[in-house]
Each structure stands twice: as structure tokens, then as C-alpha cells.
Amino acid sequence: MSGDLRTVARALRDAPAARVREAVAMIDALAERGAADALIVPLRGRLRQLGIPRRLGFVRLLFLPLDSVIRDPAFWRAEQAAVPRSALAPLGAAVQAALSEQAGAIRAAIAAGMPGADLVDRFGPPLWTAGAEVLRALSAAAAPRPGWDRTGLPTACLAPIATACACVLGAETALRAAIDGPDGPAVMARVLAATAAAGPDCLALLSAVLLGRCAAPAGPLALLARAATAAGPAAHAAVDRALTAVFERLEREAGAGLSATAADQAAGLLAAVANGTSPRQQALAQAVQLRLDAACRARLETELAAQVLAPLRELTGEAAPAAVVALEHEARALAGYAAAARQLGNADRYDRLLRDAAAAVRAPAGAPALTPIDRVRMVEILAGPEAALALLEGREPGAAIAPPPRASARNPG
């Protein structure tokens, strides 16, 4: 990365969410991203945390089911339940070449501006099924792929990576049906048994995908244990590898700040593992939980100070409506984040952080430009309606509800 780009990247890393969103949209809209793509790399964690969607291209759509297990190649190891990011381009190019008609339709839809969610709905399932077949053939051929040399990976890695990716892509449609459908457990058990038969690497990668995605992972975890028991000790080790990979990802994301959804998923997974039967996994979960909880609280404290309290203090004169709306948006996102993260433990500490922030907003110097009603709303977002109502009615929290306002003189009939 050039010096100029490095400066821009640094500025973006610390920029407000709205600025990051604009920059990413601009980069994603470029026909040839070239060096600008490097700006995205350090932002990946922040994009996830802020929930900023990326524009889908063919390769991104193809590997969407693997999104949670894609790793920076610099940190990827062969025994991990993960896929190095650098492998996606040559594998994606191979699929694109083999499925030229399908790829053309997808490219046309992207060029026509079809929204990402609709692209996934319409083109995703058939692409994943067909893509899995292409990757399996590629793996069987064991021939070098053009562009593989640029991945920085040994040629020997191509076949196992392609096989594991094919396994996940091939199972995606069934997995979606299993997660959402009425016959979920039965369908999932069949998918897991078939994947376990394909080998431990496949099972490890699919397990990591599954555990990283389920809102309620207790059921899938039990099914995985059952499938592993049927398949043998290597399968048990594969499930352990998957859990380790998921926990590593969570901790890595916690460094940049977990999103509310990720914190909720993490809490669900940790609870499921803690209630499971493997003492090794339980110990691992306990340690991860402590670290995640600490990271989430640190993020909440930092972000409250930087994104809400400092801007509120600095806002002077008559606050522009857009500025108030933007600050409310930040506060709301952080309150939502706290609601998700408090499941990781120490709920009262999250509440205290929010109450302290609300107290700072209540103080005149804490938000000099807010109107009294703006202040009430900010307190409501941070500390809840009871505290806000108390502020509105000029009483302390916990007092009785004040009488209603004057009767309306209107009777519009």
C-alpha cells in the first residue's frame, strides 16, 4: 500500500460510521477497485461490527455460505477449520469459467443494480449447488489452477481447500432448510452424517459454518456430537477444531468490537457449550466467555465516550436536527449492543455503563446543545423509559407516575 493509501486507510479506521459507510459504498461501486481494495482490508472487522453490507460480486456471492470461516491468509493454518481469503479468487474464477451462462446472468443482475438480498435469494442456491460440483471436479483433477501462485499457498493445499469448500457449498441449501424448516433436526443429522463421511476436514469446516451461524446452537451442537460419535475419534477432533475456529473468530472480532448480533450468537454458543458434555470444550468456553465479556464492556465504554458523550459535549449552540438524529442513532446502536452483550455475563456492569452515560447526558454541561426533549430521548435510549420519564416530569426514578396532561379541548368528531 502506498503512503497516501496508508494515510487514507488510517483515517477511515477511526472515521465515524457514516463516513465508513460512504467510503465502502464508493469503493464497492468502482468497476476496477485495484489498489483501493486494500483500504477495505483493515476495515473488515469494523464493517462487521457496524453491520455495513458489502456489495456482492460473483465470487462473494459464490462463497457467501463460507463467509464466517474466511481468514486472512497471513494467519491461516492448514489444520484450522477455515479458508484462506487468497484462495477464493482462483477458485471463484474456475467456477465462473465452468458456469459461464449462470455467471453471465448473475453479472447482468449485479450490473442492473439488483439488491444483495434479492441476488442471494434468486441466484444463491443454484449457484452453490453447481459451484460445489465444479470445485469437486477441480479437486479430483488435482491440476494447478491459473492464479494459484498468487495465493501464497502451497499447491498441495488446493485440493483439500476445494473439497472442503465444495462440501459446505453443496450442503448449503439443505442446511438453510434445516435451520429454518420444521424437519430441521432430521435434515441436519443427515447432512452432518454425509459430511462426516466425506472426511474430518469437511466436517470441521461445515461445523464451523454451522456453529457460527445458528441463533440457537444447542441443538446443532448435540447433533454434531452424535455424528462425531458415529464417525469416530477424528470426527470428534474435527468438531473441536470447528469450535476453536469459531471462538478464535469471535475473539478476533471482539478486538474490533463484536456486533450486537455476533454478541448474541456468541452468548448462545458459549451457553450451549457450557451445558454440553465435553469438559475440554467447557473449559475453553469459560475462558473465551471471560475474554469476550471484558472486550465487549471495553468496547461499550470506549464507544459511548467517543461516539456519544464527546460529540454531545462538543455540540454547542442550537443543535441541527441531523446532528441530533445521528447521535441518537449511535446511542441506540450502543444500547442495542449492550442488550446483546450483557448475556455474556456481568449484566449489571453493562447497565451501569449506560446509566453513567445517561447521567452525563442529564448534566447541562454534558449536552449543552440538546433541547430538554432531546435530552429526555437520549436518556431514554441509554437508560430506559423510566429514567427518561422521571427526567421529563422532574422527579427521581422510582417515583409514582405523574397525572396525565391537560384534557384535550378538541373533539374532532
Binding site: P115, G116, A117, D118, V120, D121, A215, A216, A260, T261, D264, A267, P321, V324, V325, E328, H329, R332, A333, A335, G336, Y337, A339, A340, Q343, T371, I373, D374, V376, R377, E380, I381, G384, P385, E386, A388, L389, L392, I401, P403, P404, P405, R406, A407, S408, R410, N411, P412, G413
Partner: protein, 373 residues
Amino acid sequence: MSAATSIALPLVQAFHPATFLERGVAVAFTTPHLAGVRARPAERGGIEFIVPNPSGGRGVYILGWQGVCQICRPTVHDTRLNAHLAALPAVTPAALRHAAREVAGEGLAGREAQAAAAAGLAAEGQDRLVTNFLLLLALVRQMEPEGMGELAAGRGSAFDLEQRARRSVARIAPRLGRPAEAIGAALEELAAVFAGIGLPGQAPPPRIARLLAGLRRLQQDLGPWVLRTEVEAAARASLVAAGAALTLTCAAQTLSEAQAMTADMAEALRRWTDTPGRVAELVARPEWLLDGWEPICLLWTCAGTDAERSAALGEMAALVPVLPRETSEWIGMAVETEGQLAYRKNVPLNHDWRTGTLFERVARNEHLRALAA
């Protein structure tokens, strides 16, 4: 928690209202758990709320405000709105709309809703002015039809119109046994009552005409969705589209009947003088019929992608208002009013607050408040 914790929830009830008043009026609450809640006068005075079963199952709870506070934490906006509702002399869609606008005007639903409340008030005033003018024009046209073509085409002078209006009012006053000034005042009162529905072809379209157009667009948009292969989305779209079609038919008929009154202004003024309550009731019928549809239309409008529309359909289907049996009396024919409660919300228990979605939903609802003001 407050003393509300000591209150036991009543049993869930089936909801098959006989009259529109029993069905209640949709309340513009912003608390996500209070979506689809309606208010109506309680038997023992005050207001009670009809709350869709929070479990997502069939039936409703009939609760006072304390009961509502037991099932969720209402926003400050909603607590204030409830206080305003409790002070209302009558529960009607218009009264609740005004109360909601007053609370939004305080800023408790955010700056956007506050600005929209002010704009809504101004638009309503504009509707009233235009309606007043058109009622006067109708009166003149009926009293002095000669030369009206020129006036209607905008070729007559304002002075000419004023003179004609004076003569028309002076001519009609003795027929109604009222002084001319009282006729002028009655016209203004009628304009306030008619402002929402306006006169046929009124431009810019008044509130009810805008709502009808929005509902018609929704019904058209849902056409392709009814035929979709995704069974659940198609079923939901079908339910919403059927409800919209039925409501459109009924609302259009009652609107025509109400506007038809202005075809004979002398008779309209006489009816208004003799039985103002009856006239106001007839004019209010389209709004009662359309009550609750605006947020449904807005949910659809705000969904930008097919995936969002598919998700919105779940919420919309749960909000479709049930038509009471009184509808048949209003439009003079049998109306199928059962089978509209097929869908309830489909959110896994506690999922929304665990993921922080609840906070986003409040913001979304405030945005809808702004669009509906």
C-alpha cells in the same frame, strides 16, 4: 418494577367486534410490542386497549394501561400518548390522530416526527381551506348555475364569485330558517368535517383520498406476490391483498355516499343544522374503515428489496384490521369479516431484545410515525 407487577393479566379473548367502536382505533404507539394495539372506551369509563396476543398466538388481551405496562416497557412517547388518550372526550380515528400529532409535536418521537407533525397540521389546515372554498363553490353552482362555467374555468373574477356567494347564502338562509351569518358559519363547520374526505376530484387530494390511493397501490403491488412460489409469503400477501380489496370497496362506497351530500348543498346544510352528529358520523365512515391500514402501507413502502418486502409481509399480515359486523350495515350488503386473524407475528421469543433489534424497531416506528403524520 412498578406496582403493575401485582396485576394479573386477564385471559386471552377471541376478537370478533360487532361495531367499529368495539373494534377500537389503531394507536400510533412506537413500542415494538404494542404494534397493532387499538384503543376503545372502557365500559367503566376511561380507555382500554386491545392488545394482540404477545405470544404470537390467536386472540387479544383487553387491558388498561397498567396491564399494558405489565407486558412491555412503553416508550416515553407512548406513556404520554396514553395520558392524552385518557383525556379524550371521544375515541375516534380523528381524535386519536390529533392526540398522536400533539405528542409527536412535543418531539418525543424524534425530530423527524416532530417536523412531520407540524407539516401534517399545516396540510390539514390547507385541506380545510380548499374544502371550504369548494363547498362554497358547490353552493353557488347550485343556487346560481348561470355563468358558472366561466367561474369554474377561472375566467370569472374573485369579486364576481364573492357577490354570487353572498347572494346564494342570502337566498338559502330563509329556506333553512337561519340568518345568513349562521349559514357562513355552518359552511365553515361543514368544511372542518369534510376536510378529510374533501369533494369529488379535489386537488390536491385530501387525506382520505391519499390513503385510498396508497391502499390501492399496495393491493396492486401485492398481485405478483400472491402468485409467488414461497408458500408463506404468498399466503401473507394474499391475506393482506384480500383485506385491502374488501376495505377499498367498503371505503370507496361510504366515501361516495358522504360526498354525495354535497350534490345538494341546501339539503346538506339543513342536515348539518338539524343533525350534525349524524352528518359527522356518515362523513367519518371512510376513515373508520381505513383505520389501521396506513402503517401497513408504510411498512410496504419502506421495504426496499424483495427480501425486506418478504419480511415486511409477516408484520403486515399480523396488522390487517378485522372488519366488524357493522360494516355490512354501512354498505348494505353481507361482508365476510371472519378469517382475518390468520397470522400473528413470527419472532422467536425474546429474539428482538437479545439482538438489540428492539432499539432499531423503536426508531423504525418513529420513522413510520413521521411518514403518517
